[in-house]
């Protein structure tokens, strides 16, 4: 019985820590979505495909240079640049539109980008290996955790902290927020709101690209990975409250923990649990856990 007990203990410990780790990864997926919504009230259903694009560009640069770090760096940057172009010609026309219109247009954009990925990289998913220094596991007693996952958690913490500081503690963040409330006022103050919005959109998408690049060594790069990521990102953000930074963090952790623990007692039901939790939270709290009304 003692053996059984310690087995369960270490399993619970694993599930908790793994859930937290997963939660942070999900937080990173949702962060860009929530920023774009919070700042510009824009619903981006193409978020998932940017995530997939990040993974593929990361793969491509590694294939060219043989260096993981170049890929990890290039993924988000290239995706961010793509976002700037799309923002210039398409997205900015939608800021004033209904959510329904935004959703439908970005679904169209999602299809265009997904099929383009299939055109460029073919239909067979690609593999990305983590760099040598990060492969293998970290052993703490009986407990093993991949170094690479720890690395993702580290990057997520650094990146999200950076974003938080940028939005909450700099002039940029304040003007963007003011601009979303009253664009005319801000532009009268001599600030170029359209540039500001473009930058914010690109920032959000860059975060999706970063998440995609980071996840590539865990899940590979597949054109269809975006749909699942979009689902998770939305669940995370909606649970926490659309537009809330802290909410996305809470949402990510909740989803990560729910998923990790459900995989223990009702594995085939993880998705049922995740969507039930989301539905329940929206029913009980109209604007998610931390959303503004």
């Amino acid at each position: 019985m003692r053996v059984r007990g310690s087995f369960l203990m270490s399993l619970y410990l694993f599930q908790t820590l793994n859930g937290l780790g997963l939660g942070l990864i999900y937080f990173l997926m949702g962060l860009g979505l929530t920023i774009i919504f919070g700042m510009m009230n824009f619903v981006n259903f193409a978020h998932g495909v940017f995530y997939a694009a990040g993974a593929f560009i990361c793969y491509q640069f590694i294939a060219w240079t043989g260096m993981f770090w170049v890929g990890l760096f290039a993924g988000p940057i290239v995706v961010g640049l793509l976002a700037l172009i799309l923002e210039r010609f398409l997205i900015r026309r939608l800021y004033a539109s209904d959510h329904a219109v935004q959703i439908l247009v970005t679904i169209g954009l999602m299809l265009i980008l997904r099929e383009s990925i299939l055109l460029i990289w073919g239909t067979v998913p690609k593999n990305v290996s983590p760099p040598e220094i990060l492969s293998g596991v970290l052993l703490i007693g009986d407990f093993a955790y991949p170094k690479y996952r720890l690395f993702i958690i580290g990057v997520t913490i650094v990146a999200s902290l950076g974003v938080w500081l940028l939005l909450e503690r700099t002039r940029f963040g304040m003007t963007v927020r003011a601009g979303s409330e009253n664009p005319i006022m801000v532009s009268m103050l001599g600030v170029n709101t359209s540039k500001l919005f473009a930058a914010t959109f690109a920032l959000g998408v860059t975060l999706a690209g970063l998440a995609g690049g980071l996840m590539a060594p865990i899940r590979g790069a597949s054109a269809f990975m975006g749909a699942e990521a979009l689902g998770i990102a939305f669940v995370v953000v909606v649970i926490g409250g659309m537009g809330s930074f802290v909410g996305a963090l809470a949402g990510g952790l909740i989803v990560g923990l729910v998923q990790s623990f459900t995989s223990g007692f009702w594995p085939e039901g993880t998705n049922v649990m995740i969507y039930s939790v989301m539905a329940l939270i929206i029913m009980l709290r109209p604007n998610g856990l931390f959303g503004r009304s």
Binding site: L104, I107, L111, I282
Partner: protein, 328 residues
């Protein structure tokens, strides 16, 4: 009252659509599918085009309709009409429940609730293998015979006779729904879409109307799903997948919101085009995406609105663009 098109025109138009369609598309089966999805798209249009509710849960009603019709047809020998009535009823009840829960939230939270219910439906159908067949779907779905008093029983074994059945049901549904959108209820729905606050302020209990329109949408979408299962003799899991919701939405937008003709055109063009392009180019969905973006950005009235404008121009009496909206 308003300058609406006389009802006999709708009767003629829907009969012509149903009669001509098999000759316009490559196969009878495709024609059947177009009418079936036309009905599902009308269900979506009632919500989005007339009431302003974007539902990502349409596949739930479509899939549930397919399962209910299949299960009743497989296990009970009760004839076609009871099977379809049960399907309609189940769809209406399910949609009313989803609607009741989802409309308590606004905007993106509403959309996400419909999405969540849709996803839950999918996973439950997937896990309830014993009932739904899970991933394999329900095979050998029969087409129950139509038992009418005084007439011999009718069966629908071949494609042409099943098309005939679908066409009759389609025309009836189309006309009922056309009646609905021109009715006092339809007027309230349009009012809710245009100005929900005012509708409430002049005394309409908006929530009840939204639940009602959900029920109608669920009923017709489930009926479509049930017919689809009978058409295929098969109820696949993909019926209840989120992609089906997306496709239904897609057809609705493409054809034009706020017009039932738009819904039928949207279903027709989408299905014919996807059939045609999927054989030419594996990446045809890229065109689909492009279509969606272009329609939403530059022609929010969809194909139907484009046709109306084109027709008016041709007749040289194209007036202000505001006037056509009314005909929708």
């Amino acid at each position: 009252m308003s300058t609406s098109v006389p009802f006999r025109v709708h009767i003629a138009a829907s009969v012509i659509i149903a009669a001509a369609l098999p000759f316009l598309v490559p196969s009878t089966v495709l024609a059947t599918e177009i009418l079936i999805f036309g009905m599902a798209v009308i269900g979506c249009n009632l919500l989005l085009g007339y009431t302003g509710l974007l539902s990502f849960g349409q596949a739930l009603f479509f899939g549930a309709g397919a399962y209910i019709a299949s299960l009743t047809a497989i296990h009970w020998e009760i004839g076609l009409i009871p099977v379809l009535l049960l399907t309609i009823l189940a769809g209406a009840i399910l949609a009313a429940i989803v609607g009741y829960l989802a409309i308590r939230r606004q905007g993106i939270y509403f959309v996400m609730l419909t999405l969540a219910f849709g996803q839950l439906g999918y996973y439950i159908a997937f896990l309830a293998e014993e009932i739904t067949g899970g991933e394999d779907g329900l095979l050998d779905v029969p087409r129950p015979p139509l038992e009418l008093p005084l007439l011999p029983d009718m069966t629908f074994a071949n494609d042409a006779s099943f098309y005939g059945l679908t066409a009759v049901i389609f025309v009836l549904c189309f006309l009922m729904m056309q009646r609905l959108v021109d009715s006092p209820l339809g007027s309230v729905l349009k009012a809710i879409r245009q100005n929900e606050k005012r509708a409430e302020a002049i005394g309409y209990q908006v929530r009840l109307y939204k639940i009602a329109v959900f029920a109608f949408s669920g009923a017709i979408t489930a009926l479509a799903g049930g017919l689809y299962a009978m058409m295929l003799n098969f109820a696949p899991l993909s019926n209840i997948d989120i992609e089906t919701s997306e496709q239904i939405l897609f057809m609705a937008v493409l054809g034009g919101l706020g017009s039932l003709y738009g819904s039928v055109i949207g279903a027709g063009v989408f299905l014919v085009a996807s059939d045609f392009f999927s054989e030419l180019w594996p990446r045809w969905m890229l065109l689909l995406g492009l279509f969606l973006v272009v329609v939403m950005m530059f022609a929010p009235g969809g194909l139907w609105h484009g046709l109306v404008v084109g027709f008016e121009r041709l007749r040289g009496r194209h007036k202000t663009s505001t006037e056509e909206n009314d005909h929708g």
